[in-house]
Symmetry: C2
Subunit: 211 residues, 2 copies
Amino acid sequence: MNPDTVPARKQNKRREKEVAILQAAEKVFAEEGFGGATMQLIADAAQLPKANVHYYFSTKEELYRQVVSNIFDVWLQAAGSFEESDGPAEGIGAYIDAKMEISRTRPAGSKVWASEVMHGAPIIQDYLETTLVEWTNSRIQAIDAWIAAGLMDPISPRHLLYMIWATTQHYADFGHQIQTLNRNTPLSESEWNAAKESVKKIILKGIGVSP
Amino acid sequence: MNPDTVPARKQNKRREKEVAILQAAEKVFAEEGFGGATMQLIADAAQLPKANVHYYFSTKEELYRQVVSNIFDVWLQAAGSFEESDGPAEGIGAYIDAKMEISRTRPAGSKVWASEVMHGAPIIQDYLETTLVEWTNSRIQAIDAWIAAGLMDPISPRHLLYMIWATTQHYADFGHQIQTLNRNTPLSESEWNAAKESVKKIILKGIGVSP
DNA sequence: TCTTTTTCTGACCATATGGTCAAGACTATG
DNA sequence: CATAGTCTTGACCATATGGTCAGAAAAAGA
């Protein structure tokens, strides 16, 4: 038997447990905020004794840091769908789709991210200043190129990005409000699609891109 | 002398002190979240002993409730600028202006509101279900009337409203991120104006309204 | 099977926090 | 000036929370 097999399996098992805790933590942090979340609540959500959670993540900050870090990875993944090789209709359309999909499937993550930024990004400030700044600048260049090529109106790329972020994340962060305004019912599959199409339609037309 | 004068003056003094505490609380709640905010932090921000804060607001919840309630009033005030008597260019344009102005002048309030909604609106759920639902439905009717009159494209009024809320509030709630992307500098007067114009331009064009 | 390493957990501790209280200070009024 | 009502505040308390730890249990390895 390969001597690496057993250790690998063990590593996997450890990783699985960490992931379970991280999922529980993401949910609790989203619902209660960092200050309101307690290790006991997280442990209960993960169906583990509190001390066991501390075995995998020594401190609350450490756990929170990893939750936020995971969200950032998801964010980066969606960022990849913004391909500058295609035109603005495909690039921006796909990006909006991807971000709306994240809001639908990972609302808790989006809320944790929003909370972190709202409180001054104490944990991920370095990511903001490096990765986010670079990504944003590179996308601004891409949009400017589209503008120069006459593929869209000469709007401010920066504020366009803010609008996309704001609108797409709103469906996660303010999901409770949206549900209240939707006869206290979660958005159905078709309502989600309508939301997606509305957002894309208004923004794309707003920047002078025809589908 | 009017017998009401002295009591009134006293009432004013009490009110002034309450307002000072409410302002301090709004700031602290915005920065720390409900769970992270402590009565001591709020007392320090208001430059009062903690026990004195408790004299005016018996519990943390009570204080928070009033802070959130104040924000809702500000929100309603901005909502008034959405006049259906004018056309969409004026009505929606003025509404965006008003909301952007709130984001600029009361960012802490906006953050508290966002935080409250993100955590399921435990305090102001009744406002959402009554006032907000009514206001939203009435605006949807107004927009539908504009659409019927051929003054704008047949978009979903509901999702248009969400987009306006999301985008305008983003400049307050994610102000830290925006500042980081703005060479770590707060938006200047002219940058705020550029933001306003960008938002109005894209949204109004996006719904087929010419200025 | 015996030993070693990793995982698990109840009990415990130090600290921070929301809230109380009683006594003092201040203010208006008769 | 005396009295009554309002405001102020340091000291205090009960509780909740993040985190520790010793030892049990389980798994891996020899």
